[in-house]
Amino acid sequence: MISYLKTNTLSSTSMNQVLIFVGLALISGFGLSFGIHSLLVGHDQTFGTSREVPWGILVSPYVFFACLSTGLCIVSSLGQVFGIDTFRPIVPRTVFLALITMATGLMCITLELESPWRVGFYALLSPHQSSNIWWKTTIYSLYLIFMLFNFMSLALKKKKRAKIFAIIALVTVTMGNLNMNSDMELLGARGFWSENYMPLYFLSLSTLTGCAAILLFSWLGKVFGGQILNIEDHRALKSTGKLFMVLLLGILYFTGVKVMGGFFPQFTKNPEAMSLLVQGGFALNFWIGEVALAVLIPLGLILVTRGTNSNILAIAGFSCLLGVFVLFYDLVIVGQLIPHYYQYNVVDLPKYYTYNPSLHEIMITTGAIFFFLAAFVLGEILFKKTYSS
């Protein structure tokens, strides 16, 4: 079903499109200015984090955007690396989205650091090869460069060169994704992150969000540009929708594992955290965000429309992205809320630590999301021809 026909020719950039970009960029700048303020006065004054819960909400958009970029790279490789013709039409936009999502993620983690100016010196002069976080950041930075070359090659219609960079980027980002899992798993103090299913879960979630983003932003791009969705685009989105559905079923399984762990301690290594997530203070996040928004609503929408309606696919993608954002928030925060000495009968020790994002953290997160949206719109303005070719 093609429901937003306007024109099949590329229109020139309108004033409205420029204004939308400027508006998004201004909101982004306003949000990110809170990050600059935090760097100047110190996170203890502006962040909701603490000694007990050192990682706040800003780690969530980092993990979210990095995984999203991984997924976008994987889906783009279906067309440009593995040569599946159906996926070719969505490759340029997908590569650009992968590029800007990773840039957004790295920006989030930079603003989460208390002393980011030392990274430039000591990540290079004093690297720690046993540290997954060092590898992860280095790999993602390299990946960003490879994706930039990949996109430039696509824009210059150098297909062979683009394919080479795409292969390197795919291998690199998969390593980064597995490193992210290992990084969290290594934190022995927080058992929540070391469940056996995590590596596959991370990779599946990444690909799922990649599909969801393609469904949403391909649709948005066409609406923004006032263009029609041609047969090839439609076919590519329909195939992405099918892959999306299969991955949703996979994630449904993992969600079921979480539910089992939340209700029956014998199914998890971390009964306290899983219980907090599934039936404690984070239950609303879990059931509405992780279960309904991330999995059930998109799955229901696709099953009802048989995955043929691009508008509905876009809505399903949006719902999934929202839900997965909540999922990553839960993943980062719940893992830290079990008190270190909870088994020692310590007087006045709360059952769970608490964390609430501060205004600064929320504004920085908002700024990062709007940075991504502004970059997306800029891409729609600047790379119309690349996308349509």
Binding site: G42, R51, L113, R118, H128, S131, D183, V347
Partner: protein, 253 residues
């Protein structure tokens, strides 16, 4: 003698046991406990390099991973929560008001039905032999001193990612806003340890009840060594399930 014959015998009771026999029984029990405790400590101090042979309760340890191998024994039943150790730590190491390197937790432990015992448990960095904080640091800002095994900081290298804080099972680290770097206990390495010739830390020196016994695991004359190797004492570490192999030991002595 058959089992049926045994059943027909009268119970002599414990009153008829001579005190010599009782002592021998207790001695036997303590020897077994000592052997297992010694084995536990050897496995905790880790280090594949540690060579210990268990011979009738004697544990000759000839090789520790560090020399000196600094350790601290907490005699927790002696602690009265006077907090002099905390004050000494703050003043010696210029610890800001928003953080702490060491603190004292108050525990309420069930000892019988409707009865609980209050225990004060000092905590600090455990200077683990397998420290997760060191493993995760991307810039080697935190590292294990190759000579003495102390987990130390190079603040100028800290990027403030706080992964070490998330990784530490003992909540032993905080972010010092004054130098924009993580801070933690380093057994007073630059402040008290050097000036005392490696003999004592500020908290141990300030403790009026000798709760914190600082010492060297490679020195048999060290009080910490003697306490840990007493076969009649139960020694334990905090959160052993995290496999960090701590160098801070707890006991009631």
């Amino acid at each position: 003698m058959k089992v049926k014959d045994l059943e027909n015998l009268n119970n002599e009771g414990v009153d008829s046991l001579s005190s010599k026999e009782r002592r021998r029984f207790l001695q036997f029990g303590l020897s077994i406990t000592g052997v297992f405790l010694g084995g536990s400590i050897l496995s905790l101090t880790s280090a594949h390099k540690v060579q210990g042979a268990l011979r009738g309760g004697n544990i000759p340890v000839t090789d520790f991973p560090y020399s000196p191998h600094y350790t601290m024994v907490i005699r927790q039943n002696h602690c009265i929560d006077c907090e002099r150790c905390l004050e000494a730590c703050r003043s010696t190491n210029s610890v800001p008001a928003h953080g702490y390197r060491t603190t004292i937790l108050e525990r309420s432990v069930p000892i019988a039905q409707d009865q609980r015992e209050r225990i004060f448990m000092p905590i600090l960095c455990n200077h683990c032999n397998n420290p997760p904080c060191v493993r995760v640091c991307p810039t080697q800002a935190t590292y294990k001193d190759e000579t003495n095994g102390i987990v130390r900081m190079k603040p100028e290298k800290c990027i403030g990612c706080k992964t070490c804080m998330a990784a530490c099972p003992y909540n032993a680290r905080y972010f010092n806003e004054e130098n924009r770097a993580i801070d933690k206990c380093d057994f007073c390495y630059d402040t008290k340890l050097k000036e005392s010739g490696g003999k004592i830390t500020a908290c141990a020196a300030a403790c009026p009840a000798n709760v914190r016994i600082f010492g060297d695991l490679t020195d048999p004359e060290s009080d910490a060594y003697k306490l840990i190797h007493s076969p009649d004492k139960v020694v334990w570490v905090l959160r052993p399930e995290t496999d960090t192999l701590p160098n801070v030991f707890y006991m009631n002595a």
